[in-house]
Symmetry: C2
Subunit: 241 residues, 2 copies
Amino acid sequence: MTGRLIGVGVGPGDPELITLKAVRALGMADVIAHFAKAGNSSHARAIASAHFPPGAEEVPLLYPVTTEIPHRHEAYRSAIAAFYDASAAALAERLMAGQTVAVLSEGDPLFYGSYMHLHVRLAHRFPTEVIAGVTGMSGCWSTVGAPIAQGEDVLMVLPGTLNEDALALRLAQADAAVIMKVGRNLPKIRRALERAGRLERAIYVERGTMAGCTHSPLAARDDARAPYFAIVLVPGWEGAA
Amino acid sequence: MTGRLIGVGVGPGDPELITLKAVRALGMADVIAHFAKAGNSSHARAIASAHFPPGAEEVPLLYPVTTEIPHRHEAYRSAIAAFYDASAAALAERLMAGQTVAVLSEGDPLFYGSYMHLHVRLAHRFPTEVIAGVTGMSGCWSTVGAPIAQGEDVLMVLPGTLNEDALALRLAQADAAVIMKVGRNLPKIRRALERAGRLERAIYVERGTMAGCTHSPLAARDDARAPYFAIVLVPGWEGAA
């Protein structure tokens, strides 16, 4: 009898924003896998470790490359694909031995998460469950208290890695927007918001729901490089009532 | 000393998809308010009622009008605005008396939720906290096990109430899409997906994460009216790897 794969959303950062279902799943896991940059500890692990059962085996999955290599580069693509293949193989071994394997995901597992790369490699081979989590963007707009979308608003989720023209075009068409992966893309994002006439409504949020969370109008934030855990919100619902 | 307003996200339907933070907030509430259609009981109440403390006062907020009146109609707008005004006034009275007032929201409070109408009326007057929740859309794509967006995918959240041309245009531009408020809009949504060349990837989900949840390729679903708790997903990440 094979084991069971569980993709566990642990929420946006505040350890209390984990669900009862995630806590229960972790309590029954034989193996808990989590992603981290080599040399760093996993953020998802920090959020959820209070719920690990005694004796569970931890499997850290350490990214082999950093954002210093451009993502479109062939060397990046092949290194990262080999990493996901090896990670999936390591978990498959445990699943074939009948173990319950939980893979931690910050936010929601199927929403821009690394878990997805294991899911597509394993879900057709083993019984699999995905436990939805509170996304980073929900954590951010809740922290700020900014109603993001209502009624007939169209909300767009935009990676900050898109080029400036694509960002400006999308932002001009959206009623509400969330720009993820801000980091070094902040100056470009600011220019795109300005071109789309949306800079005035934009809110910059850093480390939403986590210790040290800060936020401000984006117009008041300088262009110094933002951390990975930064997001820009453009609330819709302009005639809020 | 005034009380405290708390917008509490209770998640998409499965009672276990509520967060530890929501459970704690409910346990400290003096007053718990929840929205429902007149004659129906509140879905959010059904999700969360196991966590209500003994003795908490419940304040049902019953919508005065139904979807039978078109939303753009002036009579609808004024009736609904008066309802939100009266609801806010009822809660303000309790907040001024120093009570902690929790308002339940299915999914996430600031994402297309009725709580937002109270938030804009009360948050500037009373200490307010918003507790993010798992959205209905996360619940749906997790139930289906469909990786929704990755990498540079643009995700669009589209109300099914948009007209067919607008839907078709947006769907052609999105890498991934979520269409909410399906209900009677299903035939129009299907036509828009077909025009955008996206019908083949579309997944219909009914009552995601709830008892009686079903899902199928949208192409295999007939055009009979869908319930309110239906959503259409168009996963991105087409070259998933």
